[in-house]
Symmetry: C2
Subunit: 294 residues, 2 copies
């Protein structure tokens, strides 16, 4: 039996993603000990009763003591505060990584705080569900999914490899890219879809009351998929939009232009244009299925 890759892993923010990671690390023997840290008292109770961690508490500074790996899994808006809290308590040689959906802001907020005796390896597993909280996590969440790492030029290669090995050990494929590029790709593949889902569901909420109950009743025509996406954690997503502002606004601008073109075609009854646009969109689905991300 080989020793676990990390002796003590501190997971800061033990919700859907954090608890799934904790479960996966345990299931694959990657961590000797799991330290769960969460600011929510109810979540801590759940973690305790589900037996998901070896140690747990609400204080990030305590949680990182003696850890050789720290994984930040809180909404990205909290990183600066967490970084400031944990920095003085980081063990020499520790690797600090994260799972945040935005990477430039993470680097902006964390890098200045991380001491020279620690290594920052920003990361983002492209996986999740619309559910929240430790009870909804599961060990298989990352299987067959991509884990993106956005290391900095100065990041120690060995530290990057250790984090990459961790993700591979729990079933993910690892890819490295620049933080700015990551933020642009995710703006279109994740952030914009969530913004649109929130918007369309919000538009339905604002309908005359007589229509509203019917919107739910007849949601099987497409709307229900948007309600699922719009059921995601509001604070998590608020932080994503505030911290990936430029890329999201750029993609939103493109979307708005395309939507105007379709609107005009509908108004003018231009069937050929609509059909051609719809047929092109359909092709992309084939690519997603072939890439096994469906």
């Amino acid at each position: 039996m080989t020793a676990p890759a990390f002796e003590r892993v501190a997971i800061i923010g033990f919700g859907l993603i954090g608890s799934s990671l904790g479960r996966a690390l345990r299931a694959h023997g990657v961590a000797g000990e799991i330290v769960a840290c969460d600011s929510d008292a109810a979540a801590l109770d759940e973690i305790a009763s589900l037996g998901l961690a070896d140690r747990l508490g609400a204080d990030p500074a305590e949680a990182v003591e003696g850890a050789d790996l720290v994984v930040i899994c809180t909404p990205v808006g909290s990183y600066a505060a967490i970084g400031a809290a944990i920095a003085p308590h980081l063990t020499p040689g520790v690797i600090v990584t994260d799972v945040g959906s935005v990477k430039q802001s993470v680097i902006r907020d964390l890098l200045p705080l991380i001491p020279a005796h620690a290594q920052l390896v920003p990361g983002h597993p492209i996986a999740g569900t619309e559910k929240s909280g430790p009870a909804n996590g599961f060990a298989g969440l990352f299987e067959g999914r991509w884990a993106v790492l956005t290391p900095l030029p100065a990041t120690d290669r060995a530290a990057i490899e250790r984090v990459a090995s961790l993700w591979r050990a729990i079933g993910s494929e690892v890819v490295e890219m620049e933080a700015a590029h990551h933020d642009k790709v995710l703006a279109i593949t994740s952030h914009l879809p969530h913004l649109i889902a929130y918007t369309i569901v919000g538009t339905a909420v604002d309908l005359e009351e007589s229509l509203q109950s019917e919107v739910i009743k007849f949601s099987a025509g497409g709307f229900r998929d948007f309600t699922r996406i719009a059921a995601s954690d509001p604070i998590f997503w608020r932080d994503v939009f505030l911290n990936n502002r430029e890329a999201v606004l750029e993609m939103l601008q493109r979307l708005t232009e395309d939507l105007s073109a379709l609107q005009r075609a509908i108004r003018r009854g231009e069937g050929d244009f609509l059909e051609e646009r719809f047929a092109r969109a359909r092709e992309i689905r084939r690519g997603v299925i072939e890439a096994k991300q469906a």
Copy 2:
């Protein structure tokens, strides 16, 4: 053993919905004979090899001969032509119904063509998948879903009841409403979600080539759900938008305003506004789950 409710059911357009209906009617003994009519030669071959119909052919006029129920399941843009083709061949006492996603245009296109010895009962089952063609249909598609009927003031009550019984027999719940109201509700619950999904996938298609492959690779962050919706049949949807123009444009206008408000909040960094909007949208999901339409 009781006699089937209809002796011969002619289904015009035997794709995903038409073939699912045919399968369901057979499975529940609702139809003595299924006549499948489709203009696509490849579809006819599939229907024959899957043994989905008792008779089949490409000519709607022939298909309706001797039928006591005709169900039109083609894209709504084809209704006027189909109505003209079948009208002279309808058997006295026949009921003509349909499954079209728009109801005012169906009435506009069909009602003037239906002879006095036939009854028109416009209908719309709120069910479907993103797949197309007879091979993808299945008998359980309508179970637990709503079937909307939009009869006219002059429609014979007995005919309405017979169509309602058919949907109940195959597992649906039936609701009656006015065609204009149906078209408004479906504009927000089905048509707008599809338009948005097509748009966002189209926006991704237009990205620089370097980004495009990554959009597919990292689609698990939300985008893949949109690609699924955008994989729906282009002609079917072209016809929906052309035939429910006013309601779709009205809902699109509301959506655009709401999207602008979120865009402004992101630009200005108004986190509280975003969080509040997202939290409201999340509530709707609960309603969908409670209504068992999730």
